[in-house]
């Protein structure tokens, strides 16, 4: 369609490049519904693995915010055969914790009628039961196996829409990965649950409570989004974390970690036939389960601008968000292009105006969809004012830019630049195994086909200056705006 533009760039970027790339990709789905993407890249004898579980904090039940994240931590705790000194005894001890913990919860559930003495007694019993179970634990054995076998980059992350597990091995350890990964999703053991709960609570302190930006984002989401689970950060609320129960995490796992809800990417020096054989052998053991439900709550329409102030002795920040549709909207590509025009690189309009020319901001950027994309979300702006320049001044300057993109169409050169940048960004993603494994998983799980990673470029090519102006006018409107900013604590406020 846009032959002239494509001609600016080499073959790899045209349709034929997708055909070229397609030769490297083997895709299959096991009878239980688990999907695999194998990407051959024989540059070095190493392989990267990526497990994309289609479950995230949006699926956290009420009162259990953060449970998806909690399970992610438990997925490193091992299985009956990994991490136990004596599984039968450990299993019984773990069950015993839950029995006393149930009694404790029952007593607590009496509310104001509960007996503090009894609670203290039961708490002591829980502590003892935990100590007994812990005595059977072979510490961190799962991690130990991975690390001592040369695994690198092992970690996991829980987002709003997905939970991802990933690391890389030397090529001769491929089967070990199949073993370990299938085991942990086949029969995870919720050992050391209550200690890990403290660790998760620490993580929240670090990422949210002790970070001025973390607090600001938390307030922004809770204000901008009224009903949809995007309003809570993936870490969850402190009091929910403090009261997690192992059986809650287990129920959650059973409901959401079904085979059909998992996509796996394997990229590197891998033989796809061998990989398929091992996938059948190891992951074929996972039973076919029902697909978990989608989120039911639909965010109601926002009726008017909102503002929220967060007290913080730190230097000021401001975040400005507008409602936008999900990544499945026909406007998604135009919103991507708009965001790139506003804040991509050193030619983005916001950077040029606020940071470079007016010098009123230390940093300023936009994000096309926040906090995630599967459901209607936010188009976000974030500004860090320069010393001596106020939030108000920056806010005003930002609105002027937004009005400008609504009023005047961007020129063709700007659109062309953005298209090329988006294409080049794709090429640069293709040079690492871990990047390939994660990107292909992501597109496959989110859009049903990994090819969207490439075909999306054609959608970008179709975006016109009119489209950019139209989406700016449609979505960047005062009525759906939420502004969150920091302010110094008031005089005499509690220290």
């Amino acid at each position: 369609m846009r032959v002239c533009l494509l001609a600016l760039l080499p073959g790899l970027l045209c349709a034929q490049s997708l055909q070229e790339f397609e030769k490297k990709v083997t895709e299959f789905t096991l009878p239980n519904g688990m999907r695999f993407l194998i990407i051959e890249r024989h540059e070095a004898p190493v392989v990267s693995f990526h497990t994309y579980a289609n479950v995230g904090s949006v699926d956290d039940p009420s009162g259990e915010s953060g449970i998806a994240h909690m399970f992610e931590h438990m997925a490193f705790k091992g299985t009956p055969t990994i991490g136990s000194k004596n599984w039968p005894k450990e299993k019984a001890a773990l069950a015993a914790i839950e029995v006393v913990y149930d009694k404790l919860d029952q007593e607590k559930n009496k509310g104001f009628r509960s007996d503090p003495k009894k609670i203290a007694e039961l708490e002591a019993q829980v502590k003892d039961a935990i100590a007994t179970a812990d005595s059977f634990v072979e510490e961190n054995e799962y991690d130990r196996i991975v690390e001592s076998n040369g695994g690198v980059g092992m970690n996991a992350g829980t987002g709003e829409d997905s939970t991802n597990y990933f690391y890389s091995f030397p090529v001769n350890r491929i089967e070990l990965w199949f073993y370990l990964e299938s085991e942990r999703f086949l029969h995870p053991v919720f050992r050391e649950f209550y200690k890990e709960r403290d660790v998760v609570r620490e993580e929240r302190r670090m990422r949210v409570e002790s970070s001025p930006q973390g607090k600001l984002v938390e307030a922004l989401l809770a204000t901008a989004i009224e009903a949809h689970p995007y309003r809570v950060m993936p870490g969850g609320w402190a009091s929910d974390i403090d009261n997690f129960r192992a059986n809650e995490a287990e129920l959650f796992y059973k409901k959401y970690y079904t085979a059909g809800n998992i996509t796996i990417g394997i990229a590197g020096d891998v033989n796809p036939v061998e990989a398929k054989r091992m996938a059948e052998k190891y992951f074929g053991r996972i039973p076919k389960g029902p697909l978990p439900p989608m989120v039911r709550t639909v965010e109601p329409k926002q009726e008017g601008a909102k503002r929220v102030a967060v007290e913080s002795p730190a230097q000021p920040f401001i975040a400005i968000a507008y409602k936008r549709p999900s990544q499945y909207s026909p406007d998604d590509a135009a919103l991507d292009v708009l965001s790139e025009i506003l804040s991509g690189g050193r030619t983005g309009l916001i950077y040029k105006d606020l940071v470079r020319d007016k010098k009123i901001a230390l940093a300023a950027a936009s994000q096309d969809t926040f906090p995630s994309g599967k459901y209607p979300a936010l188009f976000l702006f974030y500004v860090v004012p320069s010393t001596g320049h106020s939030l108000e001044e920056n806010e005003k300057a930002l609105y002027a830019i937004i009005e400008h993109v609504k009023k005047d169409k961007v020129d063709e050169a700007t659109i062309a630049r953005v298209r090329i940048k988006l294409r080049a960004a794709l090429i640069r993603k293709l040079d690492s195994n871990s990047g390939l494994a994660s990107e292909l998983c992501d597109y496959s799980a989110n859009f049903g086909d990994w090819r969207k990673l490439f075909t999306q470029l054609q959608e970008y090519d179709k975006v016109t200056a009119d489209d950019v102006q139209r989406v700016a006018k449609t979505y960047l409107i005062e009525n759906t705006r939420t502004v969150a900013y920091t302010q110094a604590p008031a005089e005499g406020a509690a220290k």
Partner: protein, 698 residues
């Protein structure tokens, strides 16, 4: 018991396939790694080049190392090297401005960047293959003919000023920074940090000189990799850089590390966090250290990865921390550090530090287990192949080895050394090099929330994180020159005369000024009405009508408050501004020769410098013809140098005062104050000024 186990399996519906334990898995040998061999040569101008073909993607990328570093910053111009690197790129070339280069590169989805580290500077580029030639030319132009335009240096300085103001906001970043200052010494290039004061001393000349001294062909190594043919690229580079032949004497050695152990417990208070962030450490070694491999293994067992002792004990067993680690971070050419770092909830601060100390002591008192040693070594050896999983890693390594004078096979020597480490080695190096008596411990948190007090660990030194204001705001005041002082007083006297006479001026006890302030479009374009009131000697109140409400500021010269949106104390930067306003109240400023707390000195034939011991200072310029002050210059930490130009002189009760003030900052107009009315001696009482506004109705 067996039955229970089966039940679990049944619950998952597992009948058919029984998989063996991972212990039964057999691993085939790893295929031979093909390590690509870069081609290296020297251009005729002396620049070292390393090339590696990589045809996987249509990209060409390059990285240059320049033999310099921020260790060469002059002590009174800390940060100079970083400004050089930043403005090298942003300040454009002779032919193009930095902004033009931004557009040109982004139109090709390419990048050219420059950076500065401790012992090296870098420049890099990345281009799609078909733009390779164009981007290489831009890269060369930036490297060889930078223009260092003033506006971009100003921008970089403004940005750094903001970054300094924010440096204590993120508690997470503080412990390591402070630990480095303590370990290496806060007045050494290894330990110091850039302050506001430095920014006042850095000028374009300095940047140009730094560039000229270090950026010359013989002092640069350039690695290029990607989709090209070696022979063609060789020719292209030779041609591209042929006309760049500048020479400079060899670059001196980096300064020696002169650190002495500075053990102790240091606490920085931060009331707005729920966690304590901490770092403890001492001076370490280099990669050349004969025990480097053993130290690496020891540090890994203590605190690297999920299976380390610190993580097992403090995260997994105690649940105190999400994050805790130990590292032996060796440098190429000067001693690095041994560090334990992490964070924990405020309540368990002291316990966590104690637990970390216990683990450290254990490393020093008994051999690690055979399994620990084996797993730590296997971890390094089995993941060794990841050193070769991309051409860029190989190329970067080859170049670094040559840059720092390491043998080509250093990595393989290291591999052998790791394989040879014994339990006895680990214990020996832990005893020799992990010295608890040398540990400096830095904790940043809210001590009110600590469970056990930190003093349980020993004497606590409180770290003052206050960001120092510039010492002198307008350069060295020529105080010691009595003749200059005399000339200065003379100019003031003439100005007093011109404004209506010294006695009349001395009779002014209060002043009320109504004005409209217009910010220039570049500074936000805001317009606001304001009323300022002053009462002798130093009570000041200003009300500004802003779109979102009226903001009241009040200061008695020592403290102050701001009213928006609720009344709260001024933060130090704002208080400093208010003190500046009080200091510069025109009727008292011009009488500074009568104020013993102020120093007056001629700063030029038509200008006088007025300053106080507590750091206020202003330079006033006088009109030759009338003797009236026409301009004044002062510096503010928050804004840089401010220039005010006075005009529209009118008489109020027999005293001449300017009704128009033009404000400029860093040579740019930022705003204008148009005064509509000035009233003198209306009998303002200090209590009226300090009255706090009623809180706005919710």
């Amino acid at each position: 018991m067996k039955g229970l186990f089966l039940a679990v399996l049944l619950a998952h519906g597992v009948f058919a396939q029984v998989v063996p334990s991972y212990k039964d898995l057999k691993y085939p040998p790893l295929p031979q790694v093909k390590v690509p061999e870069p081609t290296s040569f020297t251009l005729s101008n002396g620049m070292r080049v390393f090339l590696l073909e990589d045809h996987e993607l249509p990209l060409i990328r390059g990285l240059a190392l320049i033999h310099t570093g921020n260790l060469f910053d002059p002590p009174d111009k800390k940060g100079l090297s970083e400004f050089t690197a930043e403005v090298l790129r942003s300040g454009g070339t002779k032919a193009k401005t930095g902004d033009q280069i931004d557009e040109e590169l982004e139109n090709m989805a390419a990048s050219v960047e420059a950076g500065m580290d401790e012992t090296s500077a870098s420049m890099s580029f990345s281009a799609l293959k078909e733009n390779g030639d164009t981007v290489l030319r831009v890269f060369k132009d930036v490297m060889t003919s930078p223009e260092f335009r003033q506006d971009k240096l100003d921008l970089a300085i403004t940005q750094t000023r903001s970054a300094i103001a924010r440096r204590n906001d993120d508690a997470n970043a503080i412990p390591e920074r402070e630990l480095m200052r303590i370990i290496y010494g806060p007045t050494t290039p290894y330990g110091w940090q850039v302050e506001y004061e430095d920014l006042n001393h850095i000028h374009r000349d300095d940047v140009v000189k730094f560039y000229q001294r270090y950026y010359f062909p013989k002092n640069i190594m350039l690695a290029v990799y990607g989709d090209f043919k070696i022979a063609e690229m060789k020719e292209k580079l030779e041609k591209t850089f042929a006309d760049w032949t500048v020479q400079q004497p060899d670059v001196p050695k980096f300064p020696e590390v002169t650190a002495k152990p500075a053990p102790g417990i240091y606490l920085a208070e931060k009331p707005d966090v729920t966690q304590t962030f901490f770092a403890m450490g001492e001076l370490g070694g280099t990669l050349r250290d004969k025990d480097y491999a053993a130290l690496q293994v020891a540090a890994n067992i203590l605190g690297q990865g999920f299976t380390s002792r610190l993580l097992s004990q403090i995260r997994t067993k105690l649940g105190y921390a999400y994050d805790i680690s130990a590292s032996w971070s060796a440098n190429w050419d000067h001693p690095g550090t041994f560090r334990i770092e992490g964070s924990t909830k405020s309540q368990s601060t002291t316990e966590t530090l104690e637990a970390a100390r216990v683990e450290l002591d254990k490393m020093r008192s008994a051999e690690v287990t055979p399994r620990e040693l084996d797993e730590a070594k296997q971890g390094v050896l089995n993941s060794f192949v990841f050193n070769f999983d991309s051409p860029a890693k190989t190329l970067n390594r080859v170049m670094r080895y040559e840059y720092y004078g390491y043998p080509k096979d250093f990595l393989f020597q290291y591999q052998k050394a790791i394989a040879a480490v014994t339990r006895a080695d680990v214990l020996r190096v832990a005893k020799e090099r992990f010295l608890p008596e040398n540990l400096a411990i830095v904790a940043v948190g809210n001590p009110k929330e600590f469970g056990k007090p930190l003093s349980a660990l020993g004497k606590v030194n409180v770290l003052d994180l206050t960001i120092p204001e510039p010492k002198s705001e307008t350069g060295p005041a020529p105080k010691s020159d009595p003749a200059a002082a005399e000339r200065g007083r003379g100019m003031l006297k003439r100005a007093q005369q011109a404004m209506g006479g010294a006695d009349k001026l001395a009779g002014v006890k209060d002043m009320t000024e109504s004005a409209e302030m217009t910010m220039s479009p570049a500074a936000g374009g805001m317009k606001r009405k304001q009323q300022s009131r002053w009462a002798a000697p130093s009570f000041f109140r200003q009300e500004q009508v802003l779109p979102f409400g009226t903001v009241t500021a009040y200061s008695d010269g020592k403290t102050g408050w701001l009213s928006f949106p609720t009344v709260r104390p001024m933060d130090p930067a704002v208080l400093k501004q208010a003190q500046g306003e009080i200091f510069r109240v025109p009727v008292t400023l011009i009488l500074s020769d009568r104020d013993a707390s102020r120093t007056v000195s001629a700063a030029g034939p038509k200008s006088v410098e007025i300053s106080t011991a507590d750091g206020q200072s202003v330079r006033v310029e006088f009109d030759d013809a009338t003797g009236l002050p026409i301009r004044q210059f002062y510096k503010e930490a928050a804004m840089g140098e401010v220039k005010e130009t006075f005009s529209d002189w009118r008489e109020v009760d027999g005293i001449k005062l300017p009704f128009k003030i033009l404000m400029e900052q860093n040579e740019q107009k930022v705003g204008e104050v148009a005064i509509s009315e000035i009233k003198l001696n209306t009998g303002i009482k200090p209590e009226e000024l300090s009255k706090k506004p009623e809180p706005a109705k919710k």
